[in-house]
Subunit: 344 residues, 2 copies
DNA sequence: TTGAAAGCGCTAACAG
DNA sequence: CTGTTAGCGCTTTCAA
């Protein structure tokens, strides 16, 4: 059970600790004779030595650790992955990071809980933050000089790298599509709308499309709650209570759509026969449901990959040069929309 | 951007570094005057000092870090969360750990990839491993003396704490239920069956139930692949190709069921009218689908909570005393099963 | 081509 | 009650 350290290896190989360090790290400034290298490797194998990355990062200031902060959808709600979007994103981040020899330090973030913890604390080489809003917390972070990549955030600050999608454009695309199918009264259903948040942008896109088509934005077609299945259910109830005034809905997350559809079905209201739906994300679920969802597709895997790429790039670069990355969107047609023709 | 260290705080407060350390850690062996404590706290606040947990763990041998290893469902397949079960479990683990002041070091594990990396490397206080099989890797781990909790593993080794469910019993319950509904030919659909794996146990439970009822276990009713949506689709195709010989299926994961149902629906075969399904897990998805799934419910949140509880308990205890925890299961009836009456 | 020595930032005896 | 002194396990000048 004795911890074997670099010194033990050194002793075993009959060299000094620093030599062992050199061969282990392939330190480019030092050249090692083939013979010593072999002896060291043999000792490493024999003693089953595994370097302590913790100590390593303490002295070298590189930790091979990436901090990942994922919002808790609701304060006090533990299932940050109740939206499968986060699961898919995290998978992709983890995989990419691992391929590059990095580990992930994962933490949920309750709103307004100081980010510093995860960050400075562990000497992470970089941080990926998903879906945050501008705020004091972020500013604290930036003073520590760790590269930060914001995913899906509209925080306009050149100190953070950014990766996102054309939320507004995607929403407009979705809404236009519905209009193209003959719908005139289109609901908007989303999580909470916050200044500079993703949902705000999507709402704008929705409004734009309506206005372009000469349609009015109707207060009673607006539904906003939390991004989860339960709220989808609730929204369905509200829709029914308000008298089913719309023939279609643009819903800003697949998981919401699923709840909405389920809620409607319980009251014998069918999609797409009674109401058409276009949603957003194209989580793998979107194709699994019945009816499958016509939705705005974003490449979640790519988003994760890019995030890691960006953060590592920034960690290696000495100069901070701001990078912004916007991923493309496209509408995928499935079975949740039908043509609508106004009863004459 | 200068890193502020404990020394800076000490200087600012006019005390020694150790004193600062004492007040920060509330070291019980030392008592600190109220005055010094205040001065130190003030300095901490003023300099915005955040302790470097890395250095802390190097010297104290406690890292407040828990390693979490989640299997990559398929080698080379990056989406470990393609099965929502893992997402839900991780959410729960993360949340519980965070409440206790622990961070998570997350890593996927490709089969046969040495676990040591994540472990010894970072001085984790404990490790949670999900769904692994007996093997050399595990044995390596145990020599390092870090407490390990195995979730959903049938590795019989008193050196590992264990948390799981009655897989066999659950499967039997599911199969019996189907039999009780009049079904006589019942398919078994699962991921790969491995010695001492979860699916093996579930297969045994399935066989037991069949035999109890005097039914024969039919080779052609057996489907085994990978635990993901795609394989569900494939299994559906196989079922059709083999001539739809069964009137019901016990499927060992909700996500598989979803694929299976979808695959059938594409060929106009309906659940539960044409074939009844009982599945396993009761992921939040199970209630979202159409038809909603009759499934064996397990408390995933509790599984995660228990896992960190166990690992932390073990980390604090000096003595290693083996703990095993088996969570209860129950069948939840929804809409994927119907009574079957043999055509006469 | 290798080794000695000085830390990285913090904790933990042990003195005082 | 507080400070001194050694490290934790590794990297990294700098000198040999």
């Amino acid at each position: 059970m004795q911890r074997v350290g670099i010194k033990d290896v050194a002793k075993e190989a009959g060299v000094s600790a620093s030599t062992v360090s050199y061969v282990l790290n392939n330190t480019p400034t030092e050249s090692i004779s083939e013979d010593t290298r072999k002896r060291v490797m043999a000792a490493v194998k024999k003693l089953r030595y595994v370097p302590n990355l913790n100590a390593r990062s303490l002295s070298s200031r590189r930790s091979n650790l990436i901090g990942v902060l994922i919002p808790q959808t609701e304060p006090g709600k533990e299932f940050m992955f109740s939206n499968p979007f986060y699961g898919e994103l995290l998978s992709s981040i983890e995989y990419t990071a691992r391929q590059q020899g990095y580990h992930l330090l994962l933490s949920g973030t309750q709103e307004d809980h100081c980010y510093l913890n995860i960050a400075q604390n562990r000497d992470v080489d970089g941080i990926i933050i998903v879906g945050t809003y501008p705020g004091e917390n972020l500013n604290e972070l930036k003073r520590m000089g760790v590269p930060i990549v914001l995913v899906d955030s509209y925080v306009m600050d050149k100190d953070f790298h950014t990766i996102g999608i054309e939320d507004k454009e995607g929403a407009r695309m979705a809404t236009r599509y519905l209009i193209g199918k003959g719908h005139r009264r289109i609901a908007f259903i989303s999580g909470s709308i916050r200044e500079n948040g993703v949902n705000m942008k999507r709402y704008q896109g929705y409004c734009d499309a309506l206005q372009e088509a000469g349609l009015t934005v109707d207060e009673s077609a607006f539904y906003s709650g939390t991004v989860d299945y339960e709220y989808g259910l609730t929204a369905a109830q509200q829709y029914l209570d308000r008298g089913r005034q719309q023939t279609a809905a643009f819903i800003t997350a697949d998981v919401l759509s699923m709840g909405f559809i389920k809620g409607l079905r319980e009251q014998k209201v069918c999609v797409p026969d009674d109401i058409s739906i276009v949603s957003f994300d194209d989580v793998y679920l979107a194709n699994m449901t019945y009816p499958s969802l016509t939705t705005v597709h974003q490449d979640i895997g790519e988003k994760g990959r890019k995030a890691v790429e960006l953060v590592l790039e920034a960690a290696k670069a000495k100069e901070h040069r701001y990078t912004e990355c916007i991923l493309p969107l496209r509408l995928v047609e499935r079975d949740s929309v039908r043509e609508w023709r106004e009863p004459t």
